[in-house]
Amino acid sequence: MRWLLAGLAGVFVAIVPYLVLSLHSKFRFAGKAHLWAVIAEKDVNMISQLQYLPLVAGLMLGLFQFIPEMNKKSFKLTLHLPHPEKLTVIKMMLFGFVSLSGIFVTTGGLLLALMRFSLPTAIIGAWLIAGLPWYLAGLTAYLLAAWVCIEPSWKQRAINGIVSGALLAVFLRTSGSFGYMYFTPGLVAVCLLVILFPFYSVFRFKEGVPE
């Protein structure tokens, strides 16, 4: 798990200089004034390569953390620990949620801070609004992966997987700067609501729902 987190952090850190250098390279070829005009008129998002990265990170962390727990149902041992069960599950999810948030906030902040040297605040603000749903998708994907993994029944797991796919698609419908301007609070609400989903899987696991 430590290696996975280090790897994910490494990828997110590495993409910062890549995007900054890529922006500078475009400035050199097209000229700053021309590129600013293109960005403003055609709503070009120069960090759109990031769109699916938080999603992949969230899914990977969720699967890597919870699949071993469900392997031969060793999750029973986790729940058998002399510690309040709900608190155990909360701590497990907080570990991933906080780790991902840390990576996202640090590297996203670094990227925006470096871009402020080359771009006006209005453009960076627009890109931030555009990028927020991608990061929320990453956090939601992590929670949904936990929901799917802990679910004991394969049939329900497949249904959960389909629902998860549909929910995540809502976060990634557009990379346009203002596509989610008014719906971002809605996406935050969805992300927070999804925190409850794994608890339902834990409840079913404890009920002994057959595979």
Binding site: S74, L79, H80, H83, K206
Partner: protein, 294 residues
């Protein structure tokens, strides 16, 4: 002597298949009780119900007086649980897993764990996922002993173990529980191992408890009777005559009754044997006699 495990009127179904109906039993403090049964009679189901990982159709189980559905952390700390197949968090190595568990259990004593680990030829950095089943069984046993629980629940502890590891497991466990007076509730497919270990046995049949008696009673009183049966007459099973069989002029029946009573019971079926032999049984043969071969 206080009751550590109490199950009341447990009824459970898998789909439409009845597993048990109104199952009742108790385990007193300090007893080593073995749950014996053929495959599919619900041994693991009981373990799951006891630990709150399966909600029965009806009925309730209590561990130290607490409902199994809502065990408090304090009660969980008093219960050492071994899952079928010696399942553990296999991504840890033996140092990490000891450190992980020790934080949770207030009575943690690492000596028995390291004593067992030192017997194994594994490095401290070797992950559990790369260990053999026998080695994992020692890790699982060591962790349970280090928890220093009052009750040990061991589900099919002999599964996947070669005779050497099985013997090591049984010897170590027996020495530990007899010197510390722990209560043990266990299941195993290898009944020879149970015989050396358990004080009492519950023998499960499909849907019910067939028998709950002390091991001494079972091995001391339950016997196989062989007799000649000249006309191949059929002997019917009764509450006292288990699994009678007649083949090629010879009959066989199992019973707790003394020889003369068995003879009288056979004669009621019109069979008049001229020769009857009784045979003392070990626990495995007694189990076969009680549950039948198939």
């Amino acid at each position: 002597m206080s009751t550590v495990i109490q199950c009341e009127n447990i009824t459970h179904y898998y789909g439409k298949r009845l597993i048990y109906e109104d199952l009742n039993f108790t385990v007193a403090q300090g007893k080593i009780l073995g749950l014996l049964g053929k495959n599919g009679t619900g041994k693991t189901t009981i373990i799951n119900i006891l630990n709150g990982y399966l909600k029965p159709y009806s009925g309730a189980c209590y561990l130290f007086g607490e409902d199994m559905r809502v065990l408090t952390p304090a009660t969980k700390a008093r219960v050492g649980l071994l899952l079928e197949g010696h399942v553990q968090h296999s991504y840890f190595n033996i140092v990490q897993i000891e450190k992980f568990y020790s934080r949770f259990f207030p009575n943690w004593k690492s000596e028995p764990y390291w004593e067992l680990m030192n017997r194994m030829k594994v490095t401290k950095k070797q992950k559990l996922s790369t260990m053999s089943c026998g080695q994992r069984s020692q890790v699982a046993l060591g962790l349970i002993l280090a928890q220093n629980p009052e009750l040990l629940i061991l589900d099919d502890f002999s599964m996947g173990l070669d005779p050497g590891y099985r013997r090591l497991f049984v010897d170590y466990l027996r020495e530990y529980v007899t010197t510390t007076g722990k209560t043990v509730f266990l299941t195993s497919h290898i009944i020879q191992d149970m015989e050396k270990l358990i004080d009492e046995a519950i023998i499960l049949d499909f849907g019910k408890i067939l028998l709950h008696r002390s091991t001494k009673e079972i091995t001391g009183q339950f016997r196989r009777f062989r007799f000649n049966c000249p006309h191949n007459l059929k002997v019917e099973a009764t509450d006292d005559l288990y699994h009678p069989k007649v083949l090629n002029g010879y009959g066989e029946v199992y019973s707790f009754l003394p020889k003369q009573d068995v003879l009288a019971a056979i004669k009621k079926h019109g069979v008049l044997p001229t020769k009857i032999e009784e045979e003392h049984l070990n626990l495995e043969d007694a189990f076969i006699g009680l549950t039948g071969k198939y």
